[in-house]
C-alpha cells in the first residue's frame, strides 16, 4: 500500500523533473522554463532535442496559450555583453543533439499574459518544417534557477 503510494509519488516527481516527449525519431527531453517575476512580459523555454532518426528536423516555431508569440533566439555573452538575436529556424540534424539552455539558444515567449509560477506545467506546441507538431509541457523552475545550476 505504502510502496504503491511511494511509487505513484516518485512517478509524479520524475514526470515533473525529467519528462520527455517523442515525435517520430525526435526526443524532446525535459522541456522547462523559469517562473517569472510579476509584471515580466517575456519568458523562456529550454529543452534538449535529440534526433535519433535518419531524417534531419527543422524547428520553425512554437505556440503557447500563455504568450502572444514564441520566437527562436540565440543568446551570447562575449566581452561581458549579452546579445540576443532572433533566428528563423533551428536544425536538428540526423543523429544530432541540440541543447536549448541558458546562455545559448532558447525559445522566447513574447507577451506573457500571466506570470509563470514555480512548478507550473506550461503547454507549448512545437512546429517543424515538415508540418509535424508536438504538444509538450514546460516545467517551471524557480526564478533564476535551472537544472544544473541549483544554488547550494
Amino acid at each position: 500500500m505504502w510502496s504503491a503510494a511511494a511509487l505513484f509519488l516518485l512517478n509524479l516527481i520524475s514526470a515533473a523533473v525529467a519528462h520527455e516527449y517523442v515525435l517520430g525519431g525526435l526526443r524532446i527531453v525535459h522541456p522547462w522554463t523559469h517562473a517569472t517575476p510579476p509584471g515580466a512580459t517575456t519568458g523562456v523555454a529550454y529543452m534538449r532535442l535529440v534526433n535519433t532518426g535518419s531524417v534531419p528536423m527543422r524547428l520553425t516555431g512554437a505556440t503557447t496559450p500563455v504568450a502572444r508569440r514564441v520566437e527562436i533566439h540565440e543568446m551570447s555573452v562575449a566581452g561581458g555583453v549579452m546579445r540576443m538575436r532572433r533566428v528563423p529556424s533551428l536544425d536538428i540534424g540526423a543523429g544530432a543533439t541540440v541543447e536549448l539552455k541558458p546562455g545559448g539558444i532558447h525559445l522566447m515567449l513574447v507577451g506573457l499574459n500571466r506570470a509563470l509560477q514555480q512548478e507550473d506545467m506550461i503547454p507549448l506546441t512545437l512546429a517543424f518544417a515538415n508540418g509535424a507538431t508536438v504538444s509538450i509541457d514546460l516545467y517551471a523552475e524557480a526564478i533564476g534557477v535551472g537544472p544544473g545550476h541549483h544554488n547550494h
Binding site: P37, T41, A78, V81, M82, I143, G144
Partner: protein, 202 residues
Amino acid sequence: MRAARLVALTAVSLLIALALIARLGVWDALFPPSTPSFGASIVKPFALTDTNGRKVTEHDMLGRPAVVFFGFTYCPEVCPTTLADLTNWLGELGPDADRLTVFFVTVDPARDTPTELGKYLASFDPRIRGLTGNAADIDGIAKAFGIYYQRVEIEGGGYTMDHTASILLLDPSGHLVGTISYQEAKDAAVAKLKRLLRAGGA
C-alpha cells in the same frame, strides 16, 4: 571612363561593406565598449528615480560599497537569473549585506517605469533598489560606468536590448574595484562581495 566606373564601383562596395559591418554589429565585436579599468573613479553626478519615485543621486551610491547591475525587465534570461543570484548571495551574506548599496539600473527606461520596475523587483531581495530615469540620464550613467547597451528591433515587432551583463563592484568612494560575470560560481561571487565589504571599512 573605365577607371571612373571602377572607382565608383569600389566606393559603392565599400559603402555596402561598411553598412553591413554596422548592421551586423561587427564593429562592436571588433571594438567592444571600453570598460573602465579597475581603480578608476566612475561615479559621476547623476539624477535617477527609484521604484518609489524618489530621486537618487551619486550621493546615494557613495559612502558605502556598492553593487550595480544594468538590465531591463523584458529581459528573459540574464536579468532574472542575475537578480536571483544576487538575492541568493545577499541572503548568504545575511545582515552584513545591509552595509551594501545594491542598484539595478534599467537600460530600457521607455518600458521600465518606476511602477513596472517595482513590480518586477518584488520577486527579489528587497535590498536591490531599482533605478530608472529619462533616456539621457540613463545614457549618462551607463557611459560613466562603461556599460554597453543597444536597442535591437525584433522582426515582427517589439525590441530587445543587448547590454553588458557583468555586475560592477564599487568602493565607498566610487572606484570600480571588481566585477562579477554572468553566472559566476556562487562561492566566487560571495567571496568578492565579502572582500568588497571588508574594503568598505566595516
